[in-house]
């Protein structure tokens, strides 16, 4: 197997918002190589619709302090407040930088960036909803990603599209490089570097009903876990309340921001009961629980397991101008026009708050004591600075990717001179080649699809919005059997060229590892906080559990350490909306 060697000062894995933004930052001071499973503009960031939050105050008075308070309260007080403050105060400059790069934001009559209301974003510490989400129709992710990728092209960043990363090589606590395969022809490539930025996004594909793309399998997280690095807050996985029934396609919160309301089987606007002040614009975890609660108590639309998102009263012109994308989704997939008929929606797996633990400058942490892995950085949804804590507010994700993508890139560049070039040993490469061949030649009777379907189904049934100890224990056993079945997988496609079946098998292995971390993290956190709701421990327990979970993979399974939450300005209080 002939191996092609490359050297870049910085290797970035993932070409979504975080990847491209850090590539732009690094390109000014060093050679940058970006690896991606897809053509960059097809990264899942392009599916983000709602908006990107910043206290610009273009439409009404706003302040980064309120934005900080909303994010902290939205995170159910698990977010590190120093990181949140950095994000909310950096937001304004970052959005203006994005606009200078060419992001075609929608505009106010005065020509400024237009902003709209969004779930959980309020004025003066929770009084009334505020217009803080800068948007570009309901294609904000698409608009920002295209602009960032285009600026990368302008700056001459080298992209390796359709490359699948097989291993992130870390030796004696320093980054050496990455081993990847070119999907197009199966050739093996080795990228040695001084720094690596992981920006591979979420892992929603672990759940059955998800808004995430097929590429969001989170294999890089599991590669780091297998090398003894921790994963933080993995039990917090956000379920977006309004996904199209049966398809999981997202109807942006922007629809509720523009006045859409949720109705149950009796036609009641039930959110008034759950969040009297902010109603339908409550944070996502609350709305998801409210919807599933209504369904479980038999108030779903004519008894079935979905509710209605009603936009009929919203002015038609606003729907056409600001929500064109979801209008086409409803027409294409459900055959309904949102301005004439209500939209059937259910909660769908959407965002991973947890991920690779990093400090405020994107450096990956090796342990709870704050020690870092030299040259390893992470940004975006795959990272967990923890600005989102237990639940993310809408349009804070795009902000997180761009703010911390930039910071990770800046830190990586600033430390280039005192880091030695990475060196990847032969054995490591042959180990990887070995593992691929074992998958290819295995003679079992299982197929990738059946194991994956069972994984997704059991995760969806036993580890989604409502969780119980008994179910989580059963889930962990099921995952063990899945691990055994994974060894029996038979691959029909033996060719080297574009072998998607082999790639899916590799991804599946990593997905099972991640599922186990999520399930065991959820089991050990005996409280309810943000998106993590335990029916057997419904109360939030700040005395014991105001801390981050660091999950490590030891010989005899997952073990945990804890890191205290950085509280600066806001003391934990009861979360009412």
């Amino acid at each position: 197997m002939e191996i092609i060697k490359h050297y870049f000062d910085v290797v970035i894995i993932g070409s979504g918002l975080a990847g491209c933004r850090s590539a732009i930052e690094c390109s000014s001071h060093g050679t940058v190589g970006v690896l991606s499973k897809l053509y960059p503009t097809r990264s899942h960031s392009t599916a983000a619709q709602g908006g990107i939050g910043a206290a610009l105050g273009n439409e009404e008075e706003d302040s980064p302090e309120w934005h900080t308070y909303d994010t902290v309260k939205g995170s159910d007080f698990l977010g590190d407040q120093d990181a949140i403050e950095i994000m909310c105060y950096d937001a304004i400059l970052t959005i203006i930088e994005l606009e200078h790069m060419g992001v075609p934001f929608s505009r106010t009559p005065e020509g400024r960036i237009a902003q709209r209301r969004f779930g959980g974003h309020t004025k003066d510490f929770g009084k009334t909803p505020v217009r803080r989400a800068c948007y570009s129709a309901d294609r904000t992710g698409h608009a920002v990603l295209f602009a960032l990728y285009e600026q990368c092209q302008l700056k001459g960043v080298k992209f390796f599209q359709e490359f699948q990363v097989l291993d992130i090589v870390i030796e004696n606590n320093a980054v050496q490089g990455v081993i990847a395969v070119n999907i197009k022809d199966g050739s093996l490539h080795v990228f040695e570097s001084k720094a690596i930025v992981v920006a591979t996004g979420g892992y929603g594909k672990i759940f059955k009903v998800t808004s995430n793309a097929y590429a969001t399998t989170g294999e890089c997280l599991s590669m780091l876990l297998r090398q003894g690095l921790p994963l933080e807050d993995m039990e917090f996985f956000q379920f977006h309340p309004t996904g199209l029934y049966g398809l999981g396609i997202l109807i942006t919160e922007g629809a509720r921001g523009e006045g859409g309301i949720l109705l149950n089987g009796k036609g009641e606007r039930f959110m008034e009961r759950y969040a009297p002040i902010i109603k339908d614009l409550a944070p996502r975890d609350m709305v998801s629980r409210a919807i599933l609660n209504e369904i479980r108590e038999g108030r779903g639309i004519d008894g079935k397991d979905y509710v209605y998102l009603d936009l009929r009263h919203v002015n038609k012109k606003i729907i056409e101008e600001r929500l064109p994308e979801i209008t086409t989704f409803c027409k294409i997939y459900m055959g309904i026009d949102p301005s004439e008929a209500p939209i059937p929606v259910i909660p769908t797996a959407h965002y991973a708050m947890g991920g690779i633990p990093t400090d405020n400058d994107g450096r990956v942490l090796r342990d709870v004591d704050g020690s870092v892995v030299e040259g390893l950085y992470a940004a975006g949804e795959s990272a967990c600075v923890s600005v989102h804590g237990a639940n993310r507010l809408g349009c804070n994700s795009l902000l997180d990717t761009v703010v911390f993508g930039k910071r990770a890139g800046k830190t990586a560049i600033s430390q280039l001179k005192d880091v030695s070039k990475g060196k990847i040993k032969k054995e490591r490469i042959s180990f990887i080649v070995e593992s691929i061949n074992t998958i290819k030649e295995s003679k079992g009777k299982e197929t990738v699809a059946s194991v994956r379907r069972d994984l997704q189904t059991s995760m969806m049934d036993k580890c989604s919005v409502f969780r119980k100890e008994k179910e989580l224990m059963m889930l962990l056993e099921e995952l063990q059997t899945l691990k055994e079945r994974y060894k029996e997988i038979y691959i029909k496609d033996k060719s080297n060229i574009f072998n998607t079946e082999l790639l899916e098998a590799i991804e599946l292995g990593h997905m099972i590892t991640l599922a186990e971390v999520i399930a065991s993290s959820a089991l050990q956190r005996t409280e309810s906080r943000g998106a993590h709701y335990r029916e057997d421990y419904p109360e939030r327990d700040d005395t014991n559990w105001l801390k981050h979970t660091f999950a490590f993979q030891g010989e005899k399974g997952i073990y945990f350490k804890y890191k205290p939450v950085k509280l600066t300005r806001f003391k934990p209080e009861e979360r009412k909306y």
Partner: protein, 239 residues
């Protein structure tokens, strides 16, 4: 209510002999399922070697463009209930096939790169965001929605014949930047598309408009570019 559909798929497997063949699979699909769901079901349960690109599965990323029943479409956006019982599926025309329904898109992306697809504005940026009226933003709104799936360029008879033709997608991208009030490279871009293989190769065939999964009226944008080039020609290339 479920129905049986026959997927007639054009296969290309470089390692096998013969490399190309037609496979037929009968699959049961319900009314909200799409061609992509059918392809996935076939790959999962019938033939693991069937290869195709996919990612977002709701028509925003542009990975799964292919020729379905003789017309370029996004597999994830084409509902089987709108298709005949027998669905013929082939890779995008006029591009080299890598395997089954996966084509080598690099020629298509190179076309895009030729029109300098990035905002060029070397003036010192203002403190706050650059002002742009809603009307100006609206002018480029339609051309912004392009997801670069490749359906239009590979459906254009001119591109089939002349691979040097920039193609509707690249011309639409040129439009997006030429008509963006914040861009300062209008002359450069106009020079690129005013060439022998640029806008003058467009003969208002409208195939691109027929196939665009985001319903963009691409030919209208190319006609606007033609009129701009003519107007600019009379003014001697000065703003």
């Amino acid at each position: 209510m479920d129905k049986y559909y026959t997927f007639k798929i054009k296969r290309y497997l470089p390692d096998e002999n013969p490399q190309t063949r037609w496979d037929e699979f009968r699959v049961k699909l319900n009314s909200i399922e799409r061609v992509l769901d059918g392809l996935i079901k076939i790959k999962e349960t019938r033939d693991g070697t069937l290869t195709f690109r996919k990612s977002c599965a709701h028509g925003v990323c542009g990975s799964c463009a292919m020729k379905i029943s003789g017309k370029n479409r996004l597999a994830c956006q084409t509902l089987v209930k709108d298709m005949p019982e027998m669905i013929e599926i082939e890779p995008l025309p006029a591009l080299p096939v890598i395997k089954d329904l996966v084509v080598d898109m690099s020629l298509f992306f190179r076309k895009n790169d030729e029109v300098l697809p990035y905002l060029i504005n070397n003036e010192t940026p203002p403190e706050r965001e650059r002002i742009q009226s809603p009307e100006d933003q609206h002018k480029i709104l339609e051309s912004l929605t392009c997801v670069m799936c490749g359906s239009c360029t590979t459906a254009c008879p001119i591109f089939w014949a002349d691979k040097e033709y920039l193609g509707p997608s690249a011309l639409l991208k040129a439009y997006r930047f030429i008509f963006d009030t914040r861009d300062r490279a209008k002359e450069q871009r106009l020079a690129t598309i005013n060439s022998e293989h640029g806008i003058w190769r467009c003969h208002s065939i409208f195939n691109c408009v027929e196939v665009c999964p985001k319903q963009i009226d691409i030919t209208k944008h190319i006609l606007l570019l033609k009129r701009l080039a003519v107007k600019r020609g009379f003014k001697g290339g000065v703003e």
